[in-house]
Symmetry: C2
Subunit: 233 residues, 2 copies
């Protein structure tokens, strides 16, 4: 699809009004990797990319270096860059790390959450349930928003950034797959439980539910990936 809906989420990206096809070479390459247009282990030749994105080689080289720093691209000396395979192992690695970090972020939030915060969570959750899962993109946005309410004000910016980056990756992968019926019910139930634990100011309980939530979501994704991979053989 050419309908690249600018993600309504990304924190500081201001995206210059309309067209502005530029949007940064970096952003474009990253999207192409996450959406699978640049496939696993594919070689990233600077001249070809320069052609593709309508620029010269230096911006490409710099974007690739940035992506290298973020771990999306692998370099070999004198042999250039290739796309880091985003396979099941990688997805598992990420959600297991998230299963450690998000409970930590959440339990702090419990201590500072106001009634207003809880109301906002409920509003988002209401919308999620009202929407059903028919519009996956919209659901993904709302789900991100739900967790963002919890993590955004955290004093640990490093952890929050980490969360955001990981989320971006998982979201891009998950976009390829539908939610099972079971998973849908779990998501709703777990979100409600999270809200409830926050309301009760039960930090440990909230952390535990979040951990379950992440693990369940992660397993769901990995199972889909495995299934899709096997189907291809």
């Amino acid at each position: 699809m050419t309908e690249v809906v600018e993600d309504p989420i990304s924190p500081e990206q201001d995206l210059g009004s309309d067209g502005a096809v530029d949007a940064g070479i970096y952003q474009q390459i990253l999207q192409d990797i996450l959406e699978g247009r640049l496939t696993a282990n594919e070689r990233l030749k600077v001249r070809a990319l320069a052609e593709r994105y309508g620029t010269s080689t230096n911006p490409i080289r710099e974007a690739l270096q940035q992506l290298r720093g973020e771990g999306f691209v692998l370099f070999t000396a004198n042999r250039g860059a290739r796309v880091r395979p985003i396979d099941e192992d990688f997805a598992r690695d990420i959600y297991e790390v998230e299963a450690q970090i998000e409970p930590y972020l959440t339990s702090w939030f419990v201590g500072i959450a106001t009634n207003d915060d809880i109301r906002r969570l409920e509003l988002v959750q209401d919308e999620i349930e009202a929407l059903g899962f028919d519009d996956p993109l919209r659901h993904s946005e709302l789900d991100t928003q739900f967790h963002q309410i919890i993590y955004d004000g955290h004093y640990n910016r490093h952890a929050a950034d980490l969360w955001w980056r990981h989320r971006e990756i998982l979201r891009a992968i998950a976009r390829r797959f539908p939610y099972s019926m079971v998973r849908r019910k779990e998501i709703i139930s777990e979100h409600r439980q999270i809200i409830e634990k926050i309301r009760l100011q039960d930090a440990a309980g909230a952390a535990e539910v979040v951990r379950m939530h992440i693990m369940g979501s992660g397993r769901h994704i990995v199972e889909h990936m495995r299934s899709a991979r096997i189907r291809k053989l």
Copy 2:
């Protein structure tokens, strides 16, 4: 003895003390940031850096982009890069994340550790205690080695990489400060406890000790930073 200083630390880094071996512009800049030779918020002008490291501008630009991806430098459009301040908040953010990740890494290790692994841990720990804390650099190496034994074989490479990066940062900061007497005793005690929990195959126990270990170490560093900052006023 095995006094072969086989650089047990950095995976591929050469670091020939004063040989000024190239070692990559990236490594040099990173070291200069971590060691404080490039100070917080200092502007990183490509021309100046090119001069400094004896190369031309492109390698500098690419190294800076990589560092940007890793979060060590910040960019502003059309105004280039500056050093990300590595202050107390940043250090705290990092060690709190580590306090989540390292217990997770450790508890898995407990399940696969062999007698040989335990012996290696004990050997390193023996050396740490034999050395005392007189040679801070050597101690830092050994301490890193100790934890590396535990994390290096982990299946979650992403988490292990994260650990390594965080460790590098904290190590560079900690280098500036001495260990208090209390802290020395704690370190030794905690290491011994970790070994013991591993031997007993008590994953939860090991994880908990590690968490304490990280938190203690982190607080120690932050207190030093605070003290040093206040002293400067």
